[in-house]
Amino acid sequence: MVEVLIQDSSMLKVDKHYEEGLLDLAIKASKEILNDQLKIDALIVSNSYSEKTADQVLLSTKLANSLGINTLTFRIENGDASGGAAISTAYYMIKSGMIKTALVVGVEKLGDFPMHFVNDIISQNLDEKFSYREGLIPQSYSALRMKMYMKKYNVDYDYFTEWPYLMHKNGAENPYAFLRFQADKKTISTSQVVSDPLRLFDTSPRADGAAAILMTSDDVNLKTEGKVKIASITSANSEFNVLELPAVREAFNKTKDFKPEILEIHDSYSINAALILEEIGLEKGKSLSMLDSIQVNFSGGLKSRGYPGGATGIYQIAEEYMQLTEKFPGKRASGERGTVISTDELGTTSYIINLQRC
């Protein structure tokens, strides 16, 4: 059976790259891992919002032409879970034996716009017939979740400060992070209220980014520094549920025996971090008080590394790959097995990608 390897990765610092467009960023991330000897069989672009943010479609063809690659190209869009979906697609294609190499490029530009306009972009994740038309924003769904969680488990707002506090502490060491500063708990708990009780530090700073992953079958020998095997990928989806993430639980249950030592999770909101951790085994209502017991989001997660939309999952994979190959330039985790949990904004779809050092 063909094994699927990650043989290289690259990423740009998540930032407001005002001088560069979507394609410029994608080229920058890609050229880091391309070389003359490498034949790319498929180019997959992970991007969620280009129609609204850059007035662009046909991204994968344009990127392939810019890189001088003439091959199978397409873009994968599944909201903020696009990264997990793109990696899954490349994985199954290589696993099938039909192709040997895939370049997966995540790219997004959310940094050009004022807040209310980005809210409109992100609100496309809500259903069109009612929720989007009614003017709702996803932050309100998260606020309702948070409030009902606080009531159910009898915790106050301070409980949630643990998450952004840890993320900013981790991200301060990550040179690729957007907000590279530590934040004390008082700053977090007195930050602007977005949708009561959800505060600014519970959300994710929207910015631009591009990251790339080189995936191959195990018979492709490249002179790269470090290989990681994709041990398995599972996925699931569910409708919005206030206090549970069935999509994460079901995808995780399909791969329970993997037992990862390092985690990268999609913490779009602090409450999502708690719910994800609880769906994969931490005690309900207590997960954010147990963060010392796990190695999670050493990148700084969406809070500190930042939130580059549909490129986020590719960043997560690149970060885990660098951790497992001992190349990550920030805070180092220890272990040989890592898991990436790539979800959409509200956790209705999930891709669980298990990585193992070769």
Binding site: S140, L144, K151, V193, S195
Partner: protein, 131 residues
């Protein structure tokens, strides 16, 4: 022009009268209406008009908004259990915050959501108010 009449017209039953789908096989209610039951996978669905009456389970007040909704910001948003048994997230209106309580009774009412420009198309939709 940012508001296109067909987009509003085709959603009129959802946005003005809370029309949902009820599965004739398993009783599952889906809102907004669709011609398929996502529980038992039946195509045997009837249109029903939700009563618009329900109970407020929780609420939040949003200080951020989207283009076109500036005038109604901050936006109160309720998590509402309708009497038909389904739970929805929807805007609240006519709110006096001191009167908002868990388990308050609420009812649907049609309100202006936004307008395209000062003399453009107006979008209407359902909001909920305390009874």
């Amino acid at each position: 022009m940012k508001v296109f009449p067909p987009q509003l017209w085709r959603n009129k039953e959802t946005l003005y009268t809370l029309i949902a789908g009820k599965c004739n096989k398993c009783g599952n209610i889906v809102f907004p209406y669709q011609e398929f039951c996502n529980k038992c996978k039946s195509f045997n669905i009837s249109k029903i008009k939700l009563s618009g009456k329900g109970t407020l389970i929780s609420w939040t007040v949003a200080y951020q908004n989207r283009p076109g909704f500036e005038k109604t910001t901050p936006i109160y948003v309720g998590y509402i259990k309708l009497d038909e048994g389904i739970e929805i997230v929807a805007p609240l209106t006519d709110v006096d915050e001191s009167n908002l309580k868990e388990n308050s009774r609420v009812e649907a009412t049609v309100r202006k959501l936004k307008s395209d420009s000062t003399n453009g198309l107006i979008e209407y939709g359902i909001k909920f108010r305390l009874v």
